[in-house]
Each structure stands twice: as structure tokens, then as C-alpha cells.
Amino acid sequence: MLLTSALPGIDTKPIEEETVHKTIGSGFLAINIDTIINLLIVSVIFLIGAWVLRRQLRRDRPSRFQVIVEMIIDFLNGLIRDTLGTKPINIAPLAISLFTFLLLSNWFGLIPFLFFKSPYFFKSPTNDVNVAFALAIMSIVLLHIYSIRFRTPKGYVKHYFSVVTPRWLGPWGWTRVVFAFLELIQEISRPITLSFRLYFNIFVGELMLVLIIVLLSYASVIAGPVWVGFSIFVGAVQAFIFTMLTIAYIAMGTETAHSDDEHAEGATAAAH
């Protein structure tokens, strides 16, 4: 895809390199090769970090690295306990690895790359919408699997028709079908919002970094670090929000239909 620039007199090649992914193949089967390379690099860093951590685990005198990882794990464990309560869902390993992986990949693109910048290396893997969407689909499929397992297939289908509509909206069956349709739209929109929120935050963070370097030339010495600091904050917050929303969706999706039904019946009786 050829993109023409609107800026005369400024070398816009870095901007285009940042915006357009290098692909192998064409059309529907195109593979973003730079994303795959960066994903592999981040995964290797992740695995090496885990291996180093495993080697120097100490019970009596923990190293600084171990203390940081323990803080993250404690924090997320407490969060999961608060959100899920006593439900028998073992989501903690997934949530912790998701958070650390997203944190690494969001920060990966912020490594100062001014002098050895190439279109292939040192971009965040998450500045590709495909990666973000894949992670979001993973979370949502997991949500539906847990939802079916906890509510039973019948209760899962019934849940869509469980919205209590006010009496003046019309007869019960008809409005419930309409509201089931709306619920379905909500379910479909979940992975889209989840992935786009992550993708656009990281993508814009890096694009702004390149823009600052290209457009401000020497003033970027001041503006660059400020934006990098903000991007570090945004990357951490977005990684946390992705994890948190995964947990919260699963907690919402596994509320048993039992209490739901009683509530609905009570409301129906009150409306009559």
C-alpha cells in the first residue's frame, strides 16, 4: 500500500515505516513479519526473565527482581480474590502472565531506537491490531467457555432472555427477543473494544514518538522524554486494564443464573 504524504519538505519515511507493517504474502493471507519478529523477541525476553527468576528464587533473602515480581503477583492475586470471590476458577496464572507479557510488549517499543531504527525491530508487538485482537478473542472465548460451564448450556442461552423490561414496553416475549439481540451485540462488541483500546493506545504512543523526533528535530530532546514517560504510564495502565477487564468479564459471565432467575421472578411478580 502506497501512502502519500501531505507534508512537503519533511522526510516522512520514518512515519510511513511506523504506520505500515512489513508484510509477507498478499491479501487476506498477508503476514506482518515485523510483528512476528518483535513477538518472538519479547517472548524470548519473557522466557529468559522467567528462567533467571526461577534460578535465583530465595526464600530467606529475595533479590530485588524477585520482590518486584512478587509484588505484581500479590497485587493481581488480591484483585482476582476481590473480583471473583469464592468461585472455583483458576484464572490467576493466565492473568499474571497476560499482565506481564502485555507490560513487556507495551514497553518494548519505547526503547530508545533513534540510531538503530529499522522498520523491522523495536516496535511493540501490540501496535499491530492483529495481536491485540487475538489476545482479546482468547479472553472472550475463555469467558464464554466459563459461562457455559457455570450456567449449564441451557442457562447460558436463557441468560440472554433474562432482561426484565418494564410493562409499558409491550408483551413479554417480544421485548425479550429484542433485548436478547442487544445483549448479543454487546457480546460481539466486547472483543472489538477490548482490542482497539489496547492497540490504539500503543500505536499512537509510538507514532507520536516518531512524529516528535521527525517534526521537532532538536526540540525533541525536551519533548521526547516527556512523551516517553507518559507512554510508560499508558502502557502499564493499558496492560492492567486489559487484564482487569478479562477478570471482570469472567466474573460477570459466571454469575450463576440461580440468583438471576429469582431476581427476575421477583421483579415480574412486582410488575404484575
Partner: protein
């Protein structure tokens, strides 16, 4: 002529997108932060959980103007409509 019109329209669209997005997000961020400060003043021991909730809220709010910023930057620097001109 067409190109100039398209570029001008894109610049206006980008400005509107950024301005209106920042307006809404600013109001939302202000509300969230002020309520967090109120809650912390009322119950200082709940500061930790309130701060976590505030960051979730601010992150959710900030995503929308940043999506707007992304589309505005796309319009300004890599306009996909320019290549569609005859």
C-alpha cells in the same frame, strides 16, 4: 484543487476530532479524579482501592481521545484518501 480541498478538510477534521475528544475526556477525567479525592478525604484508609479504581476509570476514558488522536494522525500524515484521487 481536489487535493487542496481534501487536505484542508482533513486538517479541519483532525482539529475537530482532537478538540472535541479532549473536551469530553477532560470532563470525564475531572469527574473521576474529583470523586477519588472526595472519597479519599472521607475515608483515607480506602485510598489504595480507590486509586486502583481511578486508574481503571482514567484508562478507560483516555482510550477514546487516543483513538481519535490515532485517526487524526492518520488523516494528517498518511491520508488513505489521497491515493484515491483521480
Amino acid at each position: 484543487m481536489d487535493k487542496a480541498l481534501l487536505l484542508g478538510m482533513s486538517a479541519i477534521a483532525a482539529g475537530l476530532m482532537l478538540g472535541l475528544g479532549a473536551l469530553g475526556a477532560g470532563i470525564g477525567d475531572g469527574l473521576v479524579s474529583s470523586r477519588t479525592v472526595e472519597g479519599t478525604a472521607r475515608q483515607p484508609e480506602a485510598r489504595g482501592s480507590l486509586l486502583t479504581l481511578m486508574f481503571i476509570g482514567v484508562g478507560l476514558i483516555e482510550a477514546l481521545p487516543i483513538i481519535g488522536l490515532g485517526i487524526a494522525l492518520l488523516l494528517l500524515f498518511a491520508n488513505p484518501l489521497l491515493s484515491k484521487l483521480p
